[in-house]
């Protein structure tokens, strides 16, 4: 019989990496499976000023690299692969990967969330041609150009400020008349001479011949449509959970977020969820990391109560 891990963690962002760290420090054997980039969404955030202790050079990629190294230093295994299915009828759970499978006593789901789309015509066709969801990845291209940032949360305002380091002008388009973002960020944005704000408006269409040339904006109060010339559209209108493969396994909200209790237990014994993928009030690196640590300790308790030593 092959190796049976105490904890198998799906997703290598801050929730998964923290779960790995806490599991391995509790002397549980643990493995993290990541299909894309280690660090998840946090690895595409250049400025991570709200993570305690990250005052100097608070870049997402650096912090995530250190989180992974720390989990590995205590014995967590990290593998790059994709989960394609499960076998959960036995007490020992099986996770099917593309070419192999993993057996574990517990599973921690830490698959996170991904950016939501605008759903406007032209958005999909012009992706990578001026439509972007990652300022860190693509800001360079807009040096000395003008861009629109859509959204009103922390991500939108923070990334708009970041974009001013490259673009000549950044126009924030927000569907309400005030921001949801942290006040300190909003003050910084308003004080920034390169930032303009268009309130009460949504993007109706992105257009351009092979490359973004402009957007059609609709004022949600007057329904008036205006044409706005721009070279780029950065979309930060929230996120959606990456939870499709768990649909028939654990209980979820209408929007597909996994429901847990405050020990991160899902509706299935021995399966936990942590980070952005679960129903919660605040989706941040710090709350993801906290979830991960709680899930690992809850998994340890579950193993103590359900498996012989």
């Amino acid at each position: 019989m092959g190796k049976i891990y105490d904890v198998a963690i799906i997703g290598g962002g801050p929730a998964g990496l923290s779960a790995g760290l806490y599991a391995s420090r509790s002397k549980l054997s643990s493995i993290i499976i990541e299909k894309g980039k280690w660090g998840g969404q946090a690895s595409t955030t250049e400025e991570l000023e709200n993570y305690p202790g990250s005052m100097e050079h608070p870049t997402g990629p650096k912090l995530m690299e250190r989180m992974k190294a720390q989990a590995e230093a205590f014995g967590t295994e990290c593998v790059k692969d994709e989960v394609i299915g499960f076998e959960l009828s036995e007490k020992i759970k099986t996770i099917k990967l593309t070419k192999s499978e993993i057996k574990a006593k517990t599973i921690i789901i830490a698959t996170g969330a991904q950016p939501m789309l605008l759903g406007a015509p032209g958005e999909d066709e012009l992706r990578g041609k001026g439509v972007s969801y990652c300022a860190t990845c693509d800001a360079d291209f807009f040096t000395e150009l003008e861009v629109v940032a859509v959204g009103g949360g922390d991500a939108a305002v923070e990334e708009a400020i970041y974009l001013t380091k490259f673009a000549d002008k950044v126009t924030i388009v927000h569907r309400r008349n005030e921001f949801r973002a942290a006040k300190s960020l909003v003050e910084k944005a308003i004080a920034n001479e390169k930032i303009d704000i268009i309130w009460d408006s949504v993007v109706e269409e992105v257009y351009g011949d092979g490359i973004v040339e402009g957007v059609k904006l609709k004022n949600v109060k007057t329904n008036e449509i205006t044409d706005f010339k721009t070279d780029g559209v950065f979309v930060f209108v929230g996120t959606k959970p990456i939870s499709d493969i768990f649909k028939d396994i654990v209980k979820m909200s209408d929007k597909g977020y996994i429901i847990t209790d405050d020990e991160m237990k899902t509706s299935v014994e021995g399966i936990f969820a942590a980070g952005d993928v679960r129903v919660k009030m605040l989706r941040q690196v710090i709350t993801a990391a906290a979830d991960g640590s709680i899930a690992a300790i809850a998994a340890e308790k579950y193993i103590e109560n359900n498996f012989e030593h």
Partner: protein, 106 residues
């Protein structure tokens, strides 16, 4: 793997005969960097069947923009210098989708 830049892009891609897959990446694009080992593996696996090259857009921004690439990661298939198909964005570019793109043209 072949590295493209403004000096060799024309000869290797635009004037070249046959099919080439170009990986447009950048030094600050974490999803792009995460894909590079997979792209290198595919380049070895499909050696002799399709040419696979990478282009660092951080160093060759104007060249990328002239190819209408303004977002990363982006993978473009050229055949006899003409763009055939491309995929763009971290969610759309995975080892599987890149391999499928290659298979479509070999």
């Amino acid at each position: 793997m072949l590295e493209l830049n403004k000096d060799n892009f024309d000869a290797e891609v635009i004037q070249a005969e046959g099919t080439i897959l170009v990986d447009f990446w950048g030094t600050k694009c974490e999803p792009c960097k995460a894909l590079i080992p997979d792209v290198e593996r595919l380049a070895e696996q499909y050696d002799g069947k399709i040419k696979i090259a990478k282009l660092n857009t951080t160093e060759n921004r104007r060249l990328a923009m002239a190819q209408k690439v303004m977002g990363l990661p982006t993978f473009v298939i050229y055949k006899n210098g003409e763009k055939q198909k491309e995929i763009s964005g971290a969610e759309n570019c995975t080892p599987e989708t890149i391999e499928n793109l290659i298979k479509e043209f070999v």
